[in-house]
């Protein structure tokens, strides 16, 4: 009880300074007050998550080398037909540290992600910055935005201060679909968790199916990471990195 309320205090305290400014400011009057682009929670959570995600991918790779085959259903092993057999060298000696690092990083990812999601719900971060306007979700608007992006049309300063519909839909899927799927399929593989909630592996079609989905969603997240980093590079590396580090955008013309 006591620890729970302490948690809330921290979340509110972290949100407080920028709560007043985050509001609708970026959309209406970008740059007028040089508003902080990302709140402290978002910035800290972003970099902790980056480290945890990299550790998860590396350690997940180490675990995968012990059995680079995927199956559908409950069971599967050498000697039973595989759904996919990856052309990777079999290595049975890397899963000890691999598992220890994987589960340490998973705890960090889940705890950090929970703080981020709770604080984002309270502060309106998701509602303001992630939820697309109703008009934007129309197929025409999405295609229009997609063709703009593909033709590298330069963004106005106003546009660059807010997320466009493609970014919004991507971030919503990453935060509310892909990461939760990773966590649930990961938990589905635990013989202890499946004893508590047998439905968890069952909804994915069994233990091995959960493992397979875990692997495919990993690939989607890696694709997201590559596109995300490429976009940051194309949009101007420091103009995008600085807001995520110090919370301040780089102002054009006026210098830094």
């Amino acid at each position: 009880m006591c620890r729970g309320s302490a948690c809330w205090c921290v979340i509110v305290a972290l949100n407080m300074p920028e709560l007043a400014q985050i509001g609708p400011l970026p959309k209406q009057d970008p740059g007028a007050l040089n508003p902080p682009r990302h709140r402290a929670v978002v910035r800290v959570a972003h970099w902790i998550n980056m480290l945890a995600f990299l550790a998860l991918v590396i350690s997940g790779g180490a675990i995968l080398l012990a059995h680079p085959r995927f199956y559908w259903g409950e069971t599967g092993a050498f000697g039973t037909p595989a759904l996919i057999e990856l052309p990777l060298p079999l290595n049975l000696d890397q899963s000890g540290w691999g598992r220890s690092l994987h589960f340490l990083a998973a705890w960090i990812c889940v705890l950090n992600g929970s703080v981020y999601v709770v604080s984002g719900l309270i502060s309106g971060h998701f509602r303001i910055n992630f939820l697309p306007d109703r008009a934007e979700i129309a197929m025409n608007a999405i295609l229009h935005r997609l063709s703009d992006s593909l033709r590298w049309r330069k963004l106005s300063e106003e546009e660059s201060m807010t997320y466009n519909v493609l970014q919004r839909l991507t971030y919503v899927s990453v935060v509310f679909a892909l990461f939760p799927l990773m966590i649930v399929t990961g938990l589905a593989m635990s013989p202890a968790v499946s004893a508590v909630v047998p439905a968890v592996p069952r909804i994915f079609g069994g233990h091995q199916s959960s493992r397979t989905v875990h692997f495919f969603v990993t690939n989607l997240l890696i694709v997201f990471l590559i596109v995300h980093v490429a976009m940051v590079g194309l949009a101007g590396f420091w103009s995008r990195m600085r807001p995520m580090i110090t919370g301040r955008p780089v102002r054009r013309k006026q210098g830094i």
Partner: protein, 254 residues
């Protein structure tokens, strides 16, 4: 960069850092207070081990059963890895004689240290369960196991109240341990039959451990003795398992 900006940033970081530090400190104290730290809780990875072990012990406090399956789901192909034939000479001679020489000794913090033959274990009420063996490598297979619940053997020898771990030694030199929650669990078996037949040698004959809520490597093969203790300190490096010394978690409920 204005001074209010840096001060605000300093304050928020300080609040966040102290909250995180006190939360993890409180969590560590609570874990120790309720005995929720695993023997391999040291080091950086020990943080993850402790979080997982403590969380699972709370989640599993009502001792739910691991998933059980139907007979038609039993895997035709059930791999046997690591030791598939112990090198011990007397063990090999015993195979021919149907393990008539084999004994399971049970000692440590028990009222009546005892020795059980295979026939004696088979005289106890048995349990049969069809469960999934999940290997840490990534493969899994379903098999049917029959054996005496470890709890019946522990009751027969009389466990002293300060007991905290049950250690197992194997013919091939491997050793590991369980906490009392898993030791008393109804699905934890000293299994002597697999898929309706005597346990085959590659799968750990004459008797292997089944711990269904943990990964395959906790299900020791070729059992030879059981020792009940109140501490993991005197075993190897004190991490509770030979596997833990090679980097594999002592608690493998994942």
């Amino acid at each position: 960069m204005s001074s209010s900006f840096t001060r605000r940033r300093f304050l928020t970081s300080a609040v966040a850092a102290s909250a995180a530090a006190s939360a993890s400190g409180a969590a560590a104290l609570l874990a120790r207070r309720y005995g929720l730290t695993p023997p391999d809780h040291g080091g950086l990875f020990g943080i993850g081990e402790t979080l997982t072990y403590a969380a699972h012990r709370v989640l599993l406090s009502r001792q739910p059963l691991a998933r059980e399956f139907n007979r038609d789901q039993i895997s035709a192909n059930f791999p046997a890895i690591n030791t598939v034939m112990p090198e011990d000479d007397s063990y090999r001679q015993d195979i021919v004689g149907g393990f008539r020489q084999w004994r399971l000794t049970v000692d440590g913090l028990v009222a009546r240290p005892s020795e059980f033959s295979l026939a004696e274990l088979k005289n106890y009420p048995s349990r049969t369960q069809i469960t999934q063996h999940i290997c840490e490598q990534g493969w899994s297979a379903i098999g049917e196991w029959t054996g005496v619940p470890l709890s019946l053997v522990l009751n027969a020898v009389g466990i002293q109240p300060q007991a905290k771990y049950v250690f197992f030694n194997c013919v091939d030199g491997w050793w590991d341990s369980l906490d009392m929650a898993d030791a008393w669990h109804p699905q934890t078996l000293l299994a002597y039959a697999m898929n309706g037949r005597d346990l085959p040698v590659p799968h750990g004959a004459p008797v292997r451990l089944r711990v269904e809520r943990q990964l395959g490597y906790k299900n020791l093969k070729y059992l030879s003795s059981i020792t009940v203790t109140d501490s993991a300190k005197d075993w190897g490096k004190g991490q509770g398992a030979q596997g833990a010394e090679n980097g594999y978690s002592w608690y493998a409920g994942i």
